[in-house]
Amino acid sequence: MSAKTLMRGTHVLGEAAIRSGCRAYFGYPITPQNELPEYMASEFAKRSDGVFVQAESEIASINMVIGASATGARVMTSSSSPGVSLKQEGISYLAAMELPAVIVNMMRGGPGLGNIAPAQGDYFQATRGGGHGDYRVIVLSPAYGQEIADMTRQAVDQADKYRTPVMIRGDGMMGQMMEPVVFPEPIDPASLPVKEWALTGAKDRPSRIIRSLWLDPPKEEELNWRLMRKYEAITEEISDQEAYLCEDADIVIVAYGTAARIAKGAVHRVRSHGVKAGLYRPKTLWPFPGSLLASMSRDLDNIVVFEMSAGQMVEDVRLSVEGKCPVTFYGRPGGVVSTPEEISGVLTSVSAGKAKKSA
């Protein structure tokens, strides 16, 4: 099935995960991502080497993820905003125990139960920890169907490589939308490197212990510094972005995921009216790919940050740019999806010196 196929985003996530050697999925239903567990259930029912459990809750499912990961399995769970909140305790434990896992969040409008429309209000939750303690998770943000497939492979590989939880952030629209996708060739899990830390039964070898409890503070401190060194390496190695039409740009719009597609449409529109606009699209939200933006910012008149939230990533943009260029924010929280026309209006008025406030 390496030919092009038309598939919805949630199914792309499932198929790409299975092709990446993921053989365990645990989840609890929530709109708008139910087609992913549905896909995993039906695919794993067809094969003898997969485990699918619809747990009794999000908390149970993330703890099943911990268990499966501890045995060395490539494992995935998925949910949408309120459900991902419930998983945060387990994600903190995964980070502490240095266990790989892929967690998908197809974001919806919040806070609280919110609604089921596409939104980006969980940026802080994903990039600032979400759970307790000093930890980070890798956060990948696809914008296209093909990128969902590619980043799922990337997420599974990076989780194993760095022994850390990786999040894939989409939204309701990306989950429902169908686009043509070419899948990577499947990996045979048996061909993957043996995990020397996994709990596989201690017959004929010394026992291994995976723990998150270190009562002796110096030991806990040691873990923390080890994690920080790992996060530094991750920041160095995987930060990624798309800089589109930025070379000659006077104004750059920063956006990710669905918002970045809308922003790209807006860039095309204003360019046809003579405004030299570019798009800066973070593909990793943590680590935030700020260095290229920072070096570009000296030559820019304006940076506009557009999010389907009340303003979260804008903080990372400001931290990166360090005042070298004015940063204007435009957001639509609550599940409202802007049109390219609306965003081109924002770009036009900001570049004309009239800062437009969020609607």
Partner: protein, 181 residues
């Protein structure tokens, strides 16, 4: 070139399949396509709609705020979408269920009794493919061959037996346009 179309009607009229087949055909022609079904707190017997974009370039937004084309399979859909159609665009109306005309002068109308056309060929349920044939013949978004191939792909397997009827319904729709030009 980038063309956006909204298909709308009530649940059971095959509205999503129209969009799916069109998107599949566009993909077969190596175009960029997006298919965005409506989702939300939908109810049985309620409205259904989907948006398809077929483009030579990468598609920015899969949402159509002013689509070139709208297909309305029932009256509430016409009311809902009549003001969204781009000026100079075309609205396709199922004239078996829609007797009024949209209150706009700046768009083209293409009316066709698709329930009747499907019924007359003994394929009541294929009214959606009749309408898709009409859309394809009028807009030229994708070729007939790509659509016939798409129907085969989409229905193969469990719905194998329905391929022939749906392909004939598509051709009947295209013929209707040729006969009424």
């Amino acid at each position: 070139m980038s063309l956006k179309i909204i298909f709308s009607g009530f649940g059971g009229q095959g509205v999503l399949m129209m969009g799916y087949v069109l998107a599949y055909a566009g993909m077969n022609e190596d175009k960029h396509v997006t298919f965005l079904p409506s989702y939300g707190a939908e109810v049985r017997g309620g409205t259904a709609n989907c948006t398809v974009v077929v483009s030579d370039e990468e598609i920015a937004s899969p949402i159509a705020s002013s689509p070139e084309f709208v297909v309305a399979m029932n009256y509430p859909s016409m009311v809902k979408y009549q003001n969204m159609v781009k000026s100079g665009g075309t609205m396709f109306l199922n004239s078996d269920l829609i007797t009024e005309a949209p209150s706009r002068e700046d768009i083209n109308l293409c009316k066709a009794p698709v329930n009747t056309l499907a019924h007359d060929m003994g394929a009541d349920r294929s009214l959606n493919m009749v309408m898709l044939g009409i859309v394809a013949a009028t807009t030229g978004m994708v070729s007939k061959e790509a659509l016939l191939q798409a129907i085969e792909k989409v229905l193969q397997g469990k719905k194998q037996s329905l391929i022939d009827m749906n392909q004939k319904a598509l051709e009947a729709g295209m013929k209707y346009v040729a006969d009424n030009q």
